[in-house]
């Protein structure tokens, strides 16, 4: 299959905006910039669109988080997800069949109860569910692991490749040039502002560079002399053969540090983490995680026993200490923007693309993005987001 949206003409010597990374973040931003009338936008990627985390993620989408910062941005994103296929004129196979975060201990139940109350106060549609309700939503779940939870009936999942292709195609139609197989090797800075990028296919001048390089974001920031206090972590996923439908909503477990769903074709898709972050830039799947995922998911959904695995892979994410994204201008260098630090960057892409495009176009960051500026990390003002399902520091899940 040809790469959707990929540009066939050679890389030009100058653009108005150069985006590094054709993941869902870079492509959504490119599409939205072009929609605002920004011309001459180029997206450069050393591999193929979606070759990074965007084609390797768990496809999970929700907005029921715990902080004002997160719920603001992700609820806007969820709204956009629900009409994204029409917007892009491409069916991204979004399924709004619900998202259940499961609690398996009394403490987790209390945490979910509190989250639901906070979400209601923040205007996010969600509900606390009892053990019985949770089992009604997912009848196949192991009752020992379902003591309650938070349910968002209009959240869900989408097909990650389709999302990448949809954005790429729509952006290309608006004139964005997506160049694959181009590695950015340097960022040209003079007089405190961006002048261009160096690539293995020649230098390109531009007044605006956006760092959307996923797991490689820190390296790109360093090229511009921009401090990005994040680290690269590896996450892993499995996909099974297709089986009769048994799991309707997207499901995440606080206890197992796992998240999963079943696709329309019947494949079960899921990933887990060990209780500590896997700081690595390797794309190799590990046996440790493979065994962990198999054991945990069979425990969570006993009817998976005996279902064959078809695929197992690893992907990289860029992670800040508060696990929150880093969005907006870099203070050190004019014209250098960040959309990095993404651990939930798939679900966050539709809103971030639209809002960051506006911010770059108008020169003022929209309200919803401001809390995510990189300066918070420099100043130690970490975002307190407690409703994530991801490994945080040594032995404690955030």
């Amino acid at each position: 299959m040809a790469i959707p949206g990929a540009c066939r003409s050679p890389l030009r010597r100058a653009y108005d905006v150069v985006i590094v990374g054709a993941g869902v973040q870079g492509l959504a931003l490119a599409y939205e910039l072009a929609k605002l009338g920004v011309r001459d936008v180029a997206v450069l990627d050393r591999s193929y669109p979606g070759g990074g985390g965007s084609g390797r993620n768990g496809e999970m989408i929700r907005s029921a988080f715990g902080s004002r910062e997160w719920t603001g941005l992700f609820d806007e994103s969820l709204r956009r997800w629900r009409t994204l296929s029409a917007e892009l004129d491409f069916n991204v196979l979004f399924s709004g069949s619900g998202y259940l975060v499961l609690a398996s201990t009394p403490e987790q139940v209390e945490r979910c109860r509190a989250d639901a109350v906070r979400q209601a106060a923040l205007g996010v549609r969600s509900q606390f569910v009892t053990a019985e309700e949770a089992r009604r939503i997912v009848p196949e779940v192991n009752p020992d692991l379902a003591l309650g939870g938070v349910y968002q009936d209009h959240a869900g999942f989408a097909h990650h490749d389709a999302v990448v292709w949809g954005y790429a195609r729509a952006a290309a139609r608006l004139g964005v040039e997506i160049h694959t197989g181009v590695t950015v090797t340097g960022v040209e800075v003079a007089g405190g502002a961006v002048r261009g990028v160096r690539t293995d296919r020649g230098d390109v001048s531009t007044p605006v560079v956006v760092n959307a390089a996923g797991g490689a974001a820190r390296a790109i920031a360093e090229m511009a002399g921009v401090r990005l206090p994040t680290r690269t972590c590896r996450l892993e996923m499995i996909v099974t053969e297709s089986v009769a439908p048994f799991l309707r909503p997207a499901l995440a477990s606080l206890e197992l540090l796992g998240y999963c769903h079943q696709t329309a074709r019947g494949e079960f898709v899921g990933g887990t983490e060990l209780p500590y972050p896997d700081v690595s830039d390797s794309l190799n799947g590990t046996y440790t995680l493979l065994a962990d995922m198999a054991a945990k998911f069979v425990r969570l959904l006993p009817r998976l026993a005996g279902v064959r695995l078809l695929r197992h892979w690893a992907g990289l994410v860029d992670q800040a200490d508060d696990l929150s994204p880093v969005i907006g201008p870099a203070p050190e260098v004019g014209g250098f923007y960040l959309t990095c630090g993404w651990v939930y960057g798939f679900m966050g892409a539709p809103a971030t693309g639209a809002l960051l495009a506006r911010g770059i176009h108008e020169g003022v960051m929209p309200e919803l993005l401001r809390p995510f500026s990189v300066t918070r990390l420099h100043e130690g003002r970490l975002i307190q987001e407690g409703a994530l399902v991801v490994a945080a520091e040594e032995g404690n899940a955030a």
Binding site: A86, F90, P245, R265, N284, Y287
Partner: protein, 501 residues
């Protein structure tokens, strides 16, 4: 039509106990120990399954040997997705085909394929993009069709939940018990190393199990290929330092050195100090319209069918020989009573070595079409015709047949190596020069035989033995060194090309 070969020119042992089994309500017969798919084929069942998305009919011999051959997935005694080519017939089982309604012969869902011009690849992304509600409904419906109602049988679930066999450290693991792996295991064990030899087949021996022609053995004597590997296998089984695990698949080779093996008794996680990858090779398919119609088969599975299972692939075959072994196979097919509609060589005539076409076939007036490209295969539930055309000129030749045998080349089964070494921008740098012998990778890892690109059995034998000796001389460090190969060290392009990132 009777496809059983009664008088086989070689003396390879035949299976002798006839047993009955049920197939979609009918009683059929086969021989105990032969693959279920072979028994069905011999009984005239051509369509064994339907493809996943477009419900195209699938028969045996298509991409066999690859981990994902879709040809023969059957439901046996209520267990879905059982690989019919890898499952020996016991007698008494109940066999059904999958993914078809009401049945695989007349599959109404096959209409999806009939309209495939209207539903091009990726149609689901175009469909219903404006209407979330309809899309949602369609999605649920698709799930019902796609999942095919597949539910794991209780017995299969119980098997999956058995405690594994744990971890086992071993000085040397050899994956693949073909001629190269057997020779390596014997050589290494002869040098005093403990060896675990793993093979996914029911019997050790690999591709040579189906070779009836002579191969030069370790002592320089020519013996039929199947006998050579049978002897090596018997010696390996008797050797006190070699553990032979058959019907056991090495699932992967992971960071840190874990080599999980799916054995009939459960999962065994090997932690080898040294590893020899001797996983053989695959047939390369040939791209032409209709190349997936039942009856279009690869050379390897056809050779197994006639020489191990003693069943003809069909009655009237076209052999497409783009490689010398295709001619040899044509001769064998002729010898077991398959009518050859033609032997077609798609290479330009000047590139075909003189005397390629066997004298026996010429004498039998088998039509020979060198310098002819394959245009298409036609037929629906089974191939009816192969259309070929001279490389120069506009005429076409339509060859009536029920079988097309494709010998288009071989590709190393190198997944285990790629999994570990093909990472990021590092390409696997394999020197595939047979004159160099088996090449060694850093850290006590080697590859030999078909997996290293060797196609000559005698060379595979010699290289396997040499790899075994070299590995036994290698002294392990505290851990298995995992240094990836440096990119392009020997200045050769990777056989697979590109990077994985």
């Amino acid at each position: 039509m009777n496809l059983r070969i009664t008088t086989h020119p070689s003396a390879s042992p035949a299976r002798s106990r006839r047993v009955a089994f049920t197939f979609e309500g009918r009683t059929l017969h086969g021989y105990e120990g032969e693959p279920v798919a072979t028994a069905l084929h011999a009984a005239g069942v051509r369509v064994l399954s339907r493809s996943f998305k477009y419900h195209r009919p699938r028969g045996i011999g298509l991409t066999c040997g690859t981990p994902s051959c879709p040809g023969c997935q059957l439901t046996i005694d209520g267990h879905y997705g059982v690989p019919g080519c890898a499952t020996p017939l016991r007698g008494g089982e109940s066999v059904r085909r999958e993914r078809a309604w009401p049945g695989a012969d007349w599959d109404l869902l096959g209409a999806i394929d009939r309209f495939s011009a209207l539903v091009p690849a990726g149609f689901q992304f175009r469909l219903l993009r404006g209407s979330p509600r309809l899309a949602h409904l369609a999605e649920r419906l698709m799930g019902v069709i796609a999942g095919g109602g597949r539910t794991v049988a209780a017995e299969v679930a119980a098997r999956a939940l058995r405690p594994g066999l744990g971890e086992r450290r071993t000085p040397l693991a050899v994956v693949g018990a073909g001629v190269a792996g057997l020779a390596a295991a014997l050589a290494a064990a002869g040098s005093g190393l403990e060896v675990v030899l793993v093979d996914q087949g029911e019997e050790p021996g690999g591709a040579l199990r189906a070779e009836t022609r002579d191969v030069r053995g370790p002592d320089g004597v020519e013996v039929p290929g199947f006998r050579l590997v049978a002897d090596l296998a018997a010696r390996a089984r008797q050797h006190a330092s070699i553990t032979v695990l058959t019907a056991s698949t090495a699932l992967g080779w992971y960071e840190g050195g874990a080599l999980p093996v799916d054995t009939p008794d459960g999962l065994l996680v090997l932690r080898p100090d040294r590893l020899l990858v001797a996983t053989g090779d695959y047939d390369v398919p040939m791209p032409f319209p209709g190349n997936d119609i039942p009856g279009v088969m690869m050379a390897g599975p056809v050779q197994r069918l006639i020489n191990v299972d003693r069943v003809r692939p069909g009655e009237r075959a076209v052999v497409v020989a783009a490689e010398p072994y295709g001619y040899g196979l044509a001769e064998q097919l002729h010898a077991v009573g398959v009518t050859l509609a033609a032997v077609v060589d798609p290479r330009p005539e000047r590139e075909i070595p003189a005397g390629a076409f066997p004298a026996a076939l010429a004498a039998a007036r088998v039509p020979y079409l060198p310098g002819h490209a394959v245009r298409e295969a036609t037929g629906h539930r089974g191939v009816r015709r192969l259309v070929v055309a001279p490389l120069a000129g506009r005429s076409v030749v339509r060859l009536a047949c029920d079988t097309v045998v494709v010998a288009a080349g071989r590709r190393p089964a190198e997944e285990l190596l790629l999994q570990r070494l093909y990472h990021g921008d590092v390409t696997l740098d394999v020197t595939r020069d047979e004159a160099d012998g088996p090449y060694s990778l850093p850290g006590g890892v080697a590859v030999a035989g078909g997996a290293a690109g060797t196609t000559d059995p005698a060379a595979a034998l010699a290289h396997g033995a040499e790899a075994g000796r070299r590995l036994s001389r290698w002294k392990p460090g505290s851990d298995l060194p995992l240094t990836p190969l440096s990119p392009g060290a020997a200045g050769r392009p990777s056989p697979s090309g590109g990077t994985s990132d």
